[in-house]
């Protein structure tokens, strides 16, 4: 640490977001295998968007459980980019998993027939939740646990749909920033087109994460790492080159999306309220 200048107020070690990809792969593979099997499952289902997060998640699931036990599900809407389905199929093929394809257009269009002027946020959220409900149906039909694909950057920024893509049983990527997801995807040699393309939720035509968020992942990851992991204060962040306005914007996003990262509030009445003073690990007895 002394060599890289880490820990000093005025410098950030250049490789602060570096991870040991072999070690991370080993831990995440073990995590998926252990948590899926100990609750009595052999298979896992993953929504495959054609993007890097779901591709990496599927790769980890295939390593953990075997490709034959991985169920990738591609769920295009009629306005989705054709490249999304193509890239999803490419990832599944490379990993040796057989994808299911479920077109969500009929139910989405049927629902919004009654609200033709619904804006794209409503439509996008509805699609994300439709996909969630399909994954959970397949979960029951095929005896497969739903594995989510949200990374730490998205989770902290609240850049996801609550009860949509944020709903799942396990989340292997939730403690990796987007920058680290890229590194791991390269390490696991996922298809270059998937790694190279601009990240997008693909909820409407031409949507781009970085355009919609208004900043680049590389920059916000560096800031989030300093704020969250290193607990740097405002003055230090300023010294490190982050404008107050940007820091405030990100702090506000993190604070205002806290509700998305927590279970719903239960009004306390008794002496033992679930999750408040009735505390058991989720892996209770497993």
């Amino acid at each position: 640490m002394a060599d890289s200048g880490g820990g000093s107020a005025l410098s950030v070690p250049p490789g602060a977001l570096d991870v040991d990809c072999d070690l991370v792969t080993e831990i995440l593979t073990g995590f998926v295998r252990d948590e899926v099997r100990k609750v009595g499952f052999e298979r896992a289902v993953v929504g495959l968007s054609g993007g890097i997060d779901s591709a990496l998640t599927l790769a980890l699931v295939c390593r953990a459980l075997g490709a034959e036990n991985a169920i990738p599900v591609i769920m295009p809407y009629r306005a989705s980019s054709p490249a999304s389905e193509r890239d999803g199929r490419l990832v599944a093929a490379q990993l040796g998993a057989t994808p299911l394809v479920v077109d969500i257009s009929p139910q989405i269009d049927a629902y919004f027939a009654g609200s033709p002027d619904a804006d794209r946020n409503r439509r996008g959220n509805k699609m994300a939740r439709e996909r969630m409900s399909i994954l959970y149906d397949i979960s029951l039909a095929r005896g497969a646990l739903v594995v989510g694909t949200s990374n730490k950057t998205e989770l902290l920024l609240g850049y996801g749909t609550i009860h949509g893509d944020m709903a799942h049983a396990l989340n292997p990527l939730g403690d990796l920033y987007k920058t680290q997801v890229f590194a791991l995807a390269r390490h696991l040699e996922l298809p270059p087109t998937v790694i190279a393309k601009a990240p997008s939720a693909d909820l409407w035509e031409g949507q781009s994460d970085e355009q919609e968020l208004g900043f680049e992942y590389a920059r916000v990851d560096r800031l989030l790492h300093l704020m969250v992991d290193e607990r740097r204060g405002r003055a230090e962040l300023r010294t490190l080159g982050f404008a107050d306005a940007f820091v405030e914007q990100i702090q506000r996003r993190v604070r205002d999306s806290q509700y998305k990262r927590r279970p719903p509030l239960i009004a306390k009445l008794s002496n033992r309220t679930i999750d408040r003073d009735f505390r058991y690990p989720r892996d209770w007895g497993r």
Binding site: L265, I266, A267, K268, L269, S270, N271, T273, R276, D277
Partner: protein, 319 residues
């Protein structure tokens, strides 16, 4: 606030008619204490500070000599990682502003206090005449049930009485006070030590989460505090001033019920309800005197026996 029949030691002050100007200039054996039963905004130091200054002004205008806020009044209670973000220093601008406001009215506030060696304490600060007069750092940090305090803050290590200046009352003899914070009250040794240190009044700041609804009208926690405040007041023949907060945090309610119990163990009027309130109570040195003549337990207390037995038990506990 309604006088509690025969139990009321003195007529209650009418908030609408503050004590006359001339009364404030003559020595008074009695003081008017206001209880700031508020609902802080969780983790919003700036908003809470503004609210404190507002309430100090309001209580002062109503003739209060002392204003007591609840535990962690400047920050809210379930702070978790907000502890370090909302911490203040003894020489910081927040206490500076509150001290400045304490020129006309003594004030006790609850906060997260950061030490020079970066320990964080759940603390109560007594301010008077522009200065910090006394600091109490919560000793007993509940870490069971719904509580996690010892994970987030460091424990205090003393219970000390102090002289409450109360310059607006110009009391004929000093009022000795001691501060306890919420869980401190659940350990009778805390109140005993303050009593032995000569307090006339125990100021208890609280953020008590309401729970237990199966017991006929009052929350289980409220019943417990009712028993403790009345018992300590009566046994230690001292006033117990209890200020609890209200509001909700992450689904947990705080039940208010702020009250004053006199040295004979009688409630001074009705406790406050579950809403924000600024009730006033009149406390009198004459009442302390009367209680101690009628029930001279403090005079008769055998400190020598307590000390000898404590020494014996200490030896035994050390093995």
């Amino acid at each position: 606030m309604t006088p509690a029949g025969a139990a009321a030691p003195m007529p209650a002050p009418d908030p609408a008619s503050p004590p006359a100007e001339t009364e404030a200039e003559a020595p008074r054996g009695d003081i008017v204490v206001a209880l700031a039963q508020l609902a802080p905004r969780l983790g919003d130091l700036r908003a809470n500070l503004a609210r404190h200054l507002e309430l100090i002004g309001a209580a002062s205008a109503q003739g209060a000599d002392l204003l007591v806020f609840p535990e962690l009044s400047l920050t809210g209670y379930f702070l978790q990682d907000l502890v370090t973000d909302t911490a203040i220093r003894l020489d910081g601008p927040e206490l500076g502003a509150l001290a400045e406001a304490s020129h006309g009215i003594d004030t006790v506030v609850g906060c997260i206090l950061e030490s020079d060696d970066h320990r964080f304490h759940n603390a109560a600060i007594y301010l008077s005449g522009g200065a910090v007069v006394h600091v109490h750092r919560k000793v007993y940090l509940p870490t069971y049930g719904l509580f996690d305090e010892a994970r987030d803050v460091a424990p205090g290590n003393r219970f000390r009485a102090f002289v409450a200046p109360l310059p607006s009352a110009r009391p004929p003899r000093p009022w000795r006070a001691g501060i306890l914070i919420c869980e401190d009250l659940w350990h009778p040794s805390s109140a005993y030590l303050l009593a032995r240190d000569g307090v006339d009044v125990i100021l208890c700041l609280s953020s008590s989460p309401g729970r237990g609804v199966g017991s006929g009208g009052a929350l289980g926690t409220a019943q417990s505090y009712d028993v403790m405040t009345r018992t300590y007041a009566q046994l230690f023949t001292a006033y117990v001033v209890y200020c609890n907060r209200v509001g909700y945090e992450d689904g947990v309610n705080f039940w208010g019920g702020s009250r004053v119990v006199d040295p004979e163990g009688h409630l001074d009027g009705e406790p406050a309800g579950r809403e924000e309130a600024l009730p006033l109570h009149r406390l009198g040195l004459a009442v302390v005197r009367r209680a101690r003549i009628a029930n001279p337990m403090l005079r008769d207390e055998r400190h020598d026996i307590v000390d000898a037995e404590c020494r014996r038990l200490s030896r035994r506990e050390r093995g």
